[in-house]
């Protein structure tokens, strides 16, 4: 069989810099050692010195299945590859699809690591017993709320559920209610948007079910639907719709707004609102990572997971993707409300496992049509 060559899209302008660093490392290192890499973190304009990773003389390779998009995470993966010398190959797709692929592959999966957008995808793979247990010191980096109970996946970065509103028609101080329940009032008729098939939204509903109970949640869903809520396939068009004035309010994750503002400027006519009353409407969701038990590169997988929880990577999420870092001591983006100042809700993400119950409820009220 002939070998067909194709190009990998791993290169970026920063590659050269890292190659230089790495080749320098190779010259110096005959045995594993800890090196220091000077890194410039672009947004915060702070130079930090960090312990990055151990560089091995024969670094080997790593296969990552990513439910997170290439645009978001390839730069940080490139950093890891450059600093460690490990050849990282990534397969990108939607989290649900990547989870399905992993389940189909079973023990023959080439993947070492699954990096998912939401706990649902991680849970599906964990349930099939495909994740290895993570060491306690890795898990210790992150609040136990943001990891699996069995310790086979760990949160990497966080996003908060928020209300996105149109700045022309809404004054958040006086127009917006303090919790989600307020949106069932008839005054919101024709002004709301949601994305009921979105994983984060469904996680929020799962959280609603566990705090409010089935009946109240159902009542809320029906109330929102009675207000002729606009149905969107996902979060981004909802944010765009809020800015355009197509809707006044949408239930979304916080970071899309910041990307829109980055693209369209400060004139973008939408902003985020954190419900002052707290509750599941302010749920903090995570993107997380787990190691595939049958993966061939266990050491490199652990290096990668450690790297994602390192201050460099955490700083990247804070600065470049507008997410909440989950590790102590990393600065958040200046436009974000600190996670500690968010209204506290007492929910472990690993409790939000009854996805099917949520889907059934959404189906029952007709939200998925």
């Amino acid at each position: 069989m002939c070998k067909i060559r194709f190009h990998n899209t791993v290169s970026s302008t920063k590659m050269i810099l890292y190659s230089l660093i790495v080749s320098g490392l190779f010259v110096a290192s005959c045995q594993p050692e800890v090196v220091e890499v000077v890194k410039e973190v672009p947004v915060e304009k702070v130079v930090e010195v960090e312990k990055v990773v151990e560089v091995d003389s024969a670094p080997g390779s790593l296969v990552v299945y990513s439910g997170r998009s290439e645009k978001l995470v390839q730069p940080i993966i490139d950093q890891f590859a450059a600093a460690s010398g490990i050849e990282v190959e990534v397969k990108y797709g939607k989290t649900a699809e990547m989870a399905a692929v992993l389940l189909e592959e079973g023990n023959n999966s080439p993947a070492d690591v699954f990096w998912a957008q939401d706990p649902g995808g991680l849970g599906a793979v964990a349930e099939a017993g495909m994740f290895a247990d993570l060491p306690a010191d890795v898990l210790a980096n992150v609040d136990s709320k943001f990891q699996s109970k069995n310790g086979n996946w760990v949160g990497v970065s966080g996003r908060a559920r928020v209300i996105v509103y149109n700045t022309a028609t809404i004054d958040p101080e006086k127009d917006l209610p303090s919790d989600l329940w307020g949106f069932v009032e008839p005054e919101w008729k024709g002004r709301l948007g949601w994305a009921p098939t979105n994983g984060s939204f469904q996680a929020m509903v799962t959280a609603l079910r566990s705090t409010w109970g089935e009946d109240k949640t159902k009542e809320w869903l029906q109330g929102i639907m009675a207000n002729d809520v606009g149905v969107y396939p996902k979060n981004t068009p909802q944010v765009a719709a809020a800015a355009a004035g197509e809707i006044d309010v949408g239930f979304v994750n916080h970071y899309y707004l910041h990307r829109f503002i980055a693209a369209e400027g400060e004139n973008f006519k939408a902003r985020n609102y954190f419900l002052t009353g707290g509750g599941p409407g302010s749920l903090v969701m995570v993107a997380g990572v787990g190691r595939i038990d049958t993966g061939a590169n266990e050491d490199n997988a652990m290096k990668f997971i450690n790297f994602l929880l390192s201050p460099v990577a955490q700083q990247y999420f804070a600065g470049q993707t507008y997410e909440y870092p989950l590790v102590e001591g990393v600065k958040i983006h200046r436009e974000l409300t600190p996670i500690a100042e968010l209204p506290k809700i007492d929910i472990d993400l690993s409790d939000l496992v009854d996805l099917q119950g949520t889907v059934d409820l959404l189906t029952e009220v007709g939200a998925l049509e």
């Binding site: 194709f6 397969k91 797709g93 399905a100 023959n108 098939t197 899309y256 996805l355």
Partner: protein, 527 residues
Amino acid sequence: MIFFFRNTSPVKVVLWFTGALVASLLLLPIGYLLLRASEAGDSIWSILFSYRTARILLKTVYLAVAVTLGSALVAVPIAWLTVRTDLPMRRLWAILTTLPLVVPSYVGAYLFISVLGPRGILQQWLEPLGVKELPKLYGFPGAFLVLTLLSYPYILTTTRAALMRMNPVLEEASRNLGDGPWGTFWRITLPQLRPGLAAGGLLVALYVLRDFGAVSFMRYSTFTRVLYIQYQSSFDRTGAAVLALVLILLTLLVLFIEIRTRGRANYYGGHVGAVGNPIQIKLGHWRWPSLFFCAGIVVLSLVLPASILAYWLFREINITMSYSSLWMSAWNSLFASGLASGLVLLASIPVAWLSVRKKGRFAILLERISYSAFALPGIVVALALVFFGANYANPIYQTVYLLLFGYLIMFLPQAVGALRTSFLQISPSIEQAARTLGKNPLMVFRTITVPVSWSGIAAGIGLVFLTVMKELPITLILGPLGFSTLATSVWSAVEEAMFGAAAAPALLLILLSSVPMASIILRESLN
């Protein structure tokens, strides 16, 4: 079997063998679905047999029928205008009107909403004129509009090919019998185009069945959307498999309708084996309305999306873009699409040829099977191949070979449809004449069949090329590690609302696709 082969020419054996092989490979997804469906729990059955599902099923069929008719209404006039009339800049229109096929439906839908949506650009322009509200876009109108504008090229390509091969004597005869140009068009041309129309319409209908992007953006519930929810929300592969089998049943229904449309007539010209120079119809004072029609369709389906993309690109021109990765994606797109169109063409030849020349049950079955996977959403086909690839064909798993195989399963019907239509229009006596002149079947195929049916073959290659260019789920899931194409780059950027980053690969996608289309269309008009 030995008896069977004894007096059969080796070429025929090869044909049957390849045909049967292709067909059996195509059955892989169905095998996978049956396997998964057999593991399904009770809950899926209650979903399947619910009133709601029945309603969604009806809505799906309704949309498929409407979009197919709508596409025919757009495509047939354009095909006729660009082939048969003295429309100014015919070739340019022919190229431009094919290109909307490369616009991924989720991108198209997003762009349409940003222009025609409730608070879209159009509304903002019309606001000062006192227009408070645009007609409702969400729901059926939006889904219909986007799907029609993005999938009419299916019918356009097959119909153009059929028009070009049609024997003009028939039209002359009709004119001679006292029919005007319009009467001739309705009574002679259109019925002659039936196989081409049916083949294209089939592709449109099946495309609507499997589309996810446009319907989810436009808030129109179809069966495929329900199926995706199974994957997305419940991570339920078995339930999704049951639903996918229903989609296959729907496909069978559409195929049945198409067979009825196909009719039993032979479509090779009545007596002269040759295709004459068609009469070029002078448009006269219809010239401007015709131009306006073509231009309107091009503006709606191509210029509008492209200019919004261009606007995004310029708005964020300062964003550092990685040109090298853009070029690599472009190269990968061209490479995969080119290779896939070649492979699909090769595989479609025996299937199409057998179904046209050997009208036996097995040949028909073979051709029907080739359509079986076409209405399946890409994710289903991809997962089927992941299952077989990872567990039973590991050496080619996550290589370009399995990826190409995935494209083959998805896009074979497009080539079979186009090829079949053009083979139908070759009188068998032409091939027989070549045989009696001392050429073996392969040479006859090469020197007679291929050149004579070139317009159909080109249409098939073009369709496959364009659709592979924009293909997403199969490329993402089956592509080798790190394999990114323009389509995946667009998706990855749009997914994260990075529209500036999406604009460059999306525009490049349209631009690169136009090159092979232009060369195909320019070449056909030289012949």
